[in-house]
């Protein structure tokens, strides 16, 4: 996650290859470019037309049957179908544009169909792709058809002498009421056909260029997505730095203050032992014993503090052990059912702090009598739920802790969902890819 991705340089819109190519007319007309554009537009018409029909049917039926419920499924299906169609379109675009359009979606490898659908419907990219799908048939399909029809007409005109020669002695009429007398005269038709082909080539190139621009706009990640990526990366760096800092503090406390306090209480213990042997020093022995008690309390407090900064048991024994430990100390009974192997450190830390935060909230606000922590790994995804039987009505936006957790989870490309209806139960659910 913390590896750096190259960010595209953005100085105005990126050039479109086909629009660059038509600036040199002779080279353009002699190259493969016109044929590539025609192939692109022709296949676009073949795809766009059925897509248009499917959309009209799905949307029409969907609206008509929305009351029944199945209609809503159709509407959702129509929108979701835009995602694979857009993938196909991004691939087809290579026909006319060497620079590929990147996939705007977040990766959902290993997610179930329900999770996939929920996530996709929330992404703006999905709706942009749907918009593209609606344009594909009526706009690009139709325009593509016109260009291909013009091309077909031009090809027939170019072939006029051959046709005239082939069907003699029957007559061909290029201009109504005037028969073409022979192949030589038919060369005029060829000339007109070549002009028409040139027009078809330019029209096709311009249309393909327009479609490349549209596809970049609707099928690719947005410019602000790059900024978000940049922001996310800087946040990842921050969190990593913060985590390293926590570790350093924990190490310093462990190697410094904790050891000093242990040494202090040991020295006091020895002093106490010496004084106990002297009858006159009973008062002093009692004072030293008190000092040792105070050192012990300080050690306990320090231990709790250190555990909050960085739980060593998480590093040494993993998530299940660390969560079990927190559960043992929790004022409310907690049942733990974690079936997870050792995971990437970033994932373990995030999952651990999510659980501790949820448990702290349950203890503070909910009045719960029982909390259940359940977690498992399916495929490449860790799913954790913390459920309490308290009052509910928790506001996820209210807790700064939860907002911070949502950030952490988002950085791991995961999701954090809090549901807390009034009357309970409150359920916090985290899904993160295990790869970290």
């Amino acid at each position: 996650m913390s590896d750096s991705l190259p960010l595209p340089e953005r100085d105005g819109p990126a050039p479109v290859a086909v629009l660059t190519a038509i600036r040199r007319p002779l080279r353009f007309l002699g190259s493969w470019w016109p044929w590539r554009c025609w192939a692109y537009l022709g296949s676009g018409f073949l795809i766009g037309y059925p897509v248009l029909i499917a959309l009209v049917v799905l949307l029409g039926l969907g609206v008509a049957l929305a009351v029944v419920g199945i209609g809503l499924l159709m509407l959702v299906g129509a929108v979701a179908a835009g995602v694979p169609l857009a993938a196909l379109e991004r691939w087809r675009l290579r026909c006319v544009e060497p620079v590929p359009v990147p996939d705007p979606h977040t990766s959902l490898a290993g997610a179930g169909p329900a999770a996939w659908l929920r996530t996709r419907l929330r992404e703006r990219a999905t709706w942009r792709e749907f918009a593209y799908a609606t344009l594909l048939g009526p706009v690009f399909g139709a325009a593509g058809f016109a260009v291909i029809a013009l091309l077909a007409f031009a090809l027939i005109l170019v072939a006029t002498p051959v046709i005239v020669w082939a069907i003699a002695p029957d007559h061909v009429m290029l201009i109504p009421g005037r028969q073409v007398s022979g192949p030589l005269e038919a060369l005029g038709g060829t000339a007109v056909g070549l002009v028409a082909m040139t027009v078809a080539a330019y029209a096709g190139a311009l249309l393909a260029g327009a479609q490349v621009r549209t596809a970049r706009l609707l099928l690719g990640p947005r410019v602000e997505a790059d900024r978000i990526l940049e922001l996310t990366r800087s946040r990842v760096r921050l969190v990593d730095a913060f985590e390293a800092e926590r570790r350093r503090i924990e190490r310093d406390l462990h190697d410094g203050a904790q050891q000093q306090l242990v040494a202090l209480s040991m020295t006091l213990g020895l002093a106490e032992l010496e004084l106990r042997g002297i009858p006159q020093a009973a008062g002093a022995a009692a004072l030293v014993a008190r000092g040792r008690g105070e050192a012990k309390v300080a050690l306990e407090q320090l231990r709790d503090l250190v555990r909050g900064i960085h739980p060593q048991v998480l590093t040494d024994h993993g998530l299940a052990a660390a969560v079990a430990e927190v559960a043992l100390r929790h004022p409310v009974p907690v049942s733990v059912d974690l079936d997870v192997p050792r995971l990437a450190e970033s994932v373990e830390i995030t999952a651990y702090f999510t659980v501790t935060e949820a448990l702290a909230n349950a203890a503070k606000h909910s009045g719960a009598s029982h909390v259940a922590v359940v977690g498992k790994v399916e495929g490449d995804r860790l799913t954790l739920t913390v459920t309490d039987d308290g009052r509910g009505g928790a506001d996820p936006g209210a807790g700064a802790g939860l907002a911070g957790l949502a950030d952490r989870v988002a950085m791991l490309k995961g999701r954090l969902v809090v549901s807390s209806p009034v009357g309970g139960p409150t359920r916090l659910r985290v899904e993160v890819p295990c790869s970290g």
Binding site: Q259, M266, Q312, A322, A324, E325, V334, L338
Partner: protein, 220 residues
């Protein structure tokens, strides 16, 4: 008098513990600062018992504990007392759920301040008994799910079990709780009955806690 090897990476504590153990009438054969040195020193000097810290170089994780387990796998009769900064039961579980817990101890470092009790715990471990820090036991007993046999113990029985696990014998236990030794025996037999343990086994006082620890191990 025990011939001991001590492993502790903090120079301050290494000196302090050496002094404490020497004052307690033991001989410190070697005081080392890393898990590797510990294993080498034990191989070379064959001590009566080992006292080791959990967290040591190079990675400052649970090297000391793992070294202890390695030493035990080479010689299952070597008494080892582990001093830890962590109450976390996972460490105690890691140490005590091997082939045999006889002659193993898991104590919080704080205990070294209670000099007499600490030296006594070391003696218990050297004699082949098991000692678990009362704080760890308290955490274990603090929150029991209803299905666990430990949940059936009365508060007084838990108190007795905690002190048993920390290595006190019946006489010391009676003195600590201000009850007669007969009452201690009665509590103990009640505990063993509730936990379905064979009371005739040696070192049975800790079996109860170990039963729980291995139960935890199976779940984790």
């Amino acid at each position: 008098m025990l011939r001991l090897i001590l492993a502790e990476d903090s120079v301050l504590l290494r000196a302090g513990l050496t002094e404490l153990l020497t004052r307690g009438g033991h001989q410190v054969l070697a005081a080392v600062g890393s898990a590797e040195e510990l294993v080498r020193a034990v191989e070379a000097q064959r001590p009566d018992a080992v006292v080791t810290d959990v967290r040591m170089p190079p990675d400052f994780r649970d090297e000391g504990l793992r070294a202890a387990l390695e030493l035990r796998s080479r010689d299952s009769s070597l008494p080892v007392l582990v001093l830890s900064q962590y109450v976390a039961t996972a460490y105690a579980t890691q140490l005590l759920t091997g082939a045999s817990a006889a002659g193993l101890g898991y104590l919080l470092k704080d205990r070294v301040g209670e000099v007499a009790e600490f030296l006594d715990a070391l003696q218990q471990v050297a004699e082949g008994r098991t000692v678990i820090d009362p704080e760890v036991v308290r955490v274990l007993l603090s929150r029991q799910s209803e299905q666990r046999p430990l949940a059936r113990l009365t508060p007084r029985e838990r108190e007795v079990l905690t002190l048993m696990a920390s290595g006190l014998n019946n006489q010391a236990l009676a003195a600590r709780l201000f009850i007669t030794e007969a009452a201690v025996v009665k509590h103990a037999s009640s505990i063993f009955m509730k936990l379905d343990l064979d009371a005739t086994e040696g070192n049975r006082r800790v079996l109860a806690v170990l039963a729980h620890l291995s139960g935890q191990e199976a779940e984790a």
